[in-house]
């Protein structure tokens, strides 16, 4: 039946006979097991293409979804981890096969005339395969993906002049991000497969055209070659069996190791140590030997020269011999290169910094850390919530202090919202051992995702702001995903009656820094209703000043100390003790000096105000202002006097010189309009030397004093 179908197809298209002619190519004597690597490399390419196409069924090339879809493939889809595993390890296997194939063709002298172009095509295939690996790295968007790509794409930056531009071209921008991902994806699933597929066909066509190299014949001596081996079935059997073995090895790796997936890409992680795959390790190690100024040599020049040398080598090698021992230079070069690359690779593995090793107790602590979901609020070099401080940044910590914070979070920071943790002693010690040892090189333990991607979290910035309308309109929507108690677990404390004490402690920071969060549900008046009462009006001061004076820490429950206090209280420091301040506070200060004295010492007032009698024997500062007021003056002098008055005197004496009404209620003799006209000398003496409560304005110059008196004279109404 099958034969008849094939016969019909052949009759119609001649396809079967073409294939048969192609497959039944006779191969020279000596062809056998050493020649299976090319077949295996092609086979692995087919495997990669097949698994890759199927992975694309679920994969989404976007930073928002890439990691989630890879997790989805890995965990939710039947055979997902198998398909991804084969694709992951298949890449290594393919590269290994390509490498072995190259070594074989080199030692067999297969690159020599007339087959130089086959070698050149082969080198192009190698470079494409490496590009394949590099672009494939990024797609899972995990830590390794991100950091390997950051490092890898930075290499071209060392090219003089255009380096930066080349890097940005590769990345699609200055940073590795969404655009890098989509372009690597397009390269990986379309451009490269098409290019590689096309080149493979060309490569094989050339092999078929020029036939396999007869073993150990000199160049040009290929006329009477025995060809006892048929490609099909003799050689294909060996190729198929070897391919099956390679696939088997890949599957063992998938089964025993699996395709690794690390935590989601985190550009903020400073502790991550990026390590390339094994086939790039030699380059990675090479870069270590070049100081910054020579990086260009190690990163671009040497690998570039190596690639160029590989490509043109068939045209440089004029030796017609194919036996390795009769071309010692080429053989030595190949062996040395192979050893050099291997040594670099091994050195990279050996010198890699070890992952931090946790003691058994710390490991137990780490598990408790994750079980308690400490990571919901605390990051360790990123990778956790941002409600609490990142634990890696401040560490390592003192053991006693760590323990105290865990047991009594408010011990050091009264505003801490961290829940109290009660653990058996042994578990607590383990947790403390783990947390206190955290340091800037620590990494967040890997928490595999447990479910599909959720809507953005409430802890994320602007969530409340962005969702207020939805939530307000239809709170039942929240209930579609969350249990009833979900909202209540935070929001029950927002009810006005609980809007005191503990609530303030926990939410004050949010409310001050992000008032829009409150306004999602509450009108502005909601806050004002209470907060109007706690403004520091005279009544408030009456009832609270003692508490404040005795326990200033109590203000800190709600307010930022000292900023909050200073918004008002800086007014009593001498430099702020201005007219404005006197107007609003002066009367209170006179009536209840104890208020001032709750914070200040008596001398604060006495610095300016002569509250006590001048000590006997100390004469008042003499006044020599010349003739008062002067004979000739200009209106500008009066204006200047007015300015001085407003600044220095109006606080007590009022704008009109008859006394500030508030002050007049507690002090006598504030009306100075009469004195200004009738007794300017006495007034001048009082201004310069002080009188009663009035401070001495010793620093007024004679001219200023004259101008002030001129202005005072106008206050009486007669001009």
């Amino acid at each position: 039946m099958i034969r008849r179908i094939l016969a019909w197809i052949d009759e119609q298209t001649e396809l079967v006979s073409i294939m048969e002619r192609f497959m039944r190519e006779p191969l020279p004597k000596g062809t056998g097991w050493p020649h299976v690597f090319g077949t295996a490399a092609l086979f692995m390419f087919v495997v990669q293409a097949a698994t890759g196409i199927f992975l694309m069924v679920y994969y989404v090339p976007s930073p928002d979804n890439a990691y989630e879809t890879v997790q989805y493939i890995q965990r939710r889809i039947m055979f997902g981890s198998f398909v991804r595993g084969v694709h992951h390890w298949g890449a290594s296997a393919m590269l290994l096969m390509v490498g072995l194939h190259m070594l074989q063709t080199f030692f067999w002298g297969a690159y020599k005339p007339p087959r130089q172009i086959i070698w050149v095509l082969g080198v192009a295939l190698l470079l494409l395969t490496l590009t394949f690996s590099f672009t494939g790295y990024l797609l899972p968007w995990d830590q390794k993906a991100y950091w390997a790509t950051v490092v890898g794409t930075n290499i071209p930056r060392s090219i003089p002049a255009i380096g930066e531009w080349v890097r940005d071209l590769i990345r699609g921008g200055a940073a590795v991000g969404a655009i890098t991902l989509t372009r690597f994806f397009a390269l990986h699933v379309f451009f490269l497969p098409v290019a590689l597929g096309g080149l493979i066909i060309f490569h094989m066509f050339q092999v078929r055209k020029k036939h396999l190299t007869p073993a150990w014949r000199r160049v040009g001596d290929e006329t009477d070659v025995e060809r006892p081996v048929l490609f099909y079935p003799d050689q294909t059997f060996k190729g198929a069996l070897f391919s099956l073995l390679v696939l088997g090895a890949v599957m063992v790796l998938v089964w025993r190791v699996g395709a690794p997936i690390e935590p989601v890409a985190n550009p903020a992680d400073t502790a991550y140590v990026p390590r390339p795959e094994w086939y790039f390790l030699w380059l990675f190690q090479l870069l270590k030997y070049f100081p910054g100024s020579l990086e260009f040599v190690g990163a671009i020049v040497l690998p570039g020269l190596a690639a160029v040398l590989l490509i043109i080598y068939p045209y440089l090698d004029g030796n017609p011999e194919r036996r390795p021992l009769r071309r010692p230079f080429a053989t030595a070069l190949a062996v040395l290169t192979f050893c050099g690359v291997s040594t670099l690779g091994v050195a990279a593995i050996v010198t890699a910094p070890r992952e931090e090793k946790l003691t058994a107790v710390q490991q137990r602590g780490q598990k408790i850390f994750m079980d308690l979901r400490c990571n919901t609020c605390h990051g360790i070099n990123g990778g956790g919530g941002n409600a609490g401080p990142d634990l890696a940044q401040g560490g390592p910590y003192k053991v006693e202090r760590t323990q105290k914070v865990i047991v009594e979070p408010t011990a050091f920071s009264p505003r801490s919202i961290m829940p109290v943790t009660q653990l058996p002693r042994e578990e607590l010690n383990a947790l403390v051992a783990y947390v206190s040892a955290l340091n800037p090189h620590s990494r967040m333990p890997f928490m595999p995702a447990v479910g599909p991607k959720r809507p953005s979290s409430h802890l994320e910035e602007n969530w409340f702001v962005n969702h207020k309308f939805e939530v307000r309109k239809d709170p039942s929507q929240c209930a579609t995903c969350h249990k009833r108690a979900f909202c209540q677990s935070c929001h029950q404390k927002r009810r006005p009656d609980s809007h005191l004490g503990e609530w303030l402690k926990i939410h004050y920071g949010n409310a001050v820094e992000r008032p829009e969060y409150c306004r999602v549900c509450h009108e502005q008046s909601f806050c004002d209703k209470c907060h109007a009462e706690v403004l520091h009006g005279p009544d408030w001061l009456k009832t609270h000043r003692l508490g404040v004076a005795k326990r200033p820490g109590i203000c800190g429950q709600c307010h930022r100390v000292p900023e909050s206090c200073n918004t008002c209280h800086r007014g009593v420091r001498p430099e702020f003790h201005t007219t404005e301040w006197i107007k609003t506070h002066g009367a209170t200060a006179v009536k209840q000096p104890a208020l001032c004295l709750s914070c200040h010492s008596t001398s604060t007032c006495q610095d300016c105000h002569a509250l006590r009698a001048r000590p006997a024997g100390v004469p008042p500062t003499p006044v020599k202002p010349g003739k008062l007021p002067p004979e000739t003056y200009s209106p500008a002098d009066v204006q200047a006097g007015k300015a001085i008055y407003r600044e220095q005197c109006a606080g007590c004496h009022g704008d009109n010189g008859k006394g500030n009404p508030d002050m007049a209620a507690v002090m006598r003799n504030l009306d100075i309009t009469d004195a200004a006209r009738k007794r300017p000398d006495t007034l001048a003496q009082a201004i310069r030397g002080g009188k009663g409560m009035m401070p001495a304005f010793e620093k007024l110059s004679d001219q200023e004093l004259q101008r002030l008196l001129l202005y005072l004279r106008t206050l009486g109404g007669k001009g």
């Binding site: 039944r24 006779p26 495997v47 097949a50 698994t51 199927f54 069924v57 679920y58 979804n65 989630e68 879809t69 997790q71 989805y72 939710r76 889809i77 039947m78 055979f79 997902g80 198998f82 398909v83 084969v86 070659v225 025995e226 060809r227 006892p228 048929l230 099909y232 079935p233 003799d234 294909t236 059997f237 198929a240 069996l241 391919s243 099956l244 696939l247 599957m251 479910g451 599909p452 991607k453 959720r454 809507p455 239809d474 039942s476 929507q477 579609t480 995903c481």
Partner: protein, 167 residues
């Protein structure tokens, strides 16, 4: 084809050996195809085989359903869509007629527009092509081919709970 001599001069033993090798090659090919093909096929069709869970969604209090006056409820439920978690929303009309109570979908059976209850006309109107349904969901005018679908429902603790069949 000078170098094809050996091919034509195959001895009987060599021919037999090559036949075996051809079969073995085919066998290896079949093994590889199976080992890769079966997982890949399963990988592809897996999501369509996922067991569907019955979805029961709370609609609203039964006390708000008055006789002969359909009342509109919107419902929503969480749904896992591949690697995403989504909220699906929908609308249903709960109706109580003499001695009978049922919950109607608001999706017109014609082309799936949302119908609305018009109190004055005492009927549901589909705004797209003027299809009309009476209070029981029966078609009274226009193109709809079938009456409005009814949800299975039960009442628990005074709340109507409807059964959603996922499309």
């Amino acid at each position: 084809m000078a170098h094809n001599q050996e091919v034509t001069d195959e001895s009987g033993a060599l021919q037999a050996r090559r036949r075996v090798l051809a079969y073995l090659t085919g066998l290896i090919g079949a093994v590889i195809a199976a080992v890769l093909g079966i997982p890949l096929a399963a990988f592809y069709i897996a999501p369509s085989l996922a067991r569907r869970k019955p979805i029961w969604v709370e609609l609203g209090p039964i006390s708000s359903v008055r006789p002969n006056e359909p009342i509109k409820f919107t419902y929503s439920y969480g749904k896992i869509d591949g690697w995403l978690e989504k909220v699906v929303r929908g609308t249903a009309y709960a109706v109580r007629t003499d001695g009978d109570m049922f919950v109607l979908s608001n999706l017109c059976t014609h082309l799936g527009c949302g119908v609305r209850w018009e109190r004055d006309a005492k009927s549901f109107l589909c705004p797209c092509h003027n299809g009309r349904f009476d209070i029981t969901g029966k078609v009274t005018a226009g193109p709809p081919p079938k009456p409005l679908p009814r949800f299975k429902y039960r009442v628990s603790g005074g709340t109507i709970i409807i059964h959603i069949e996922e499309a």
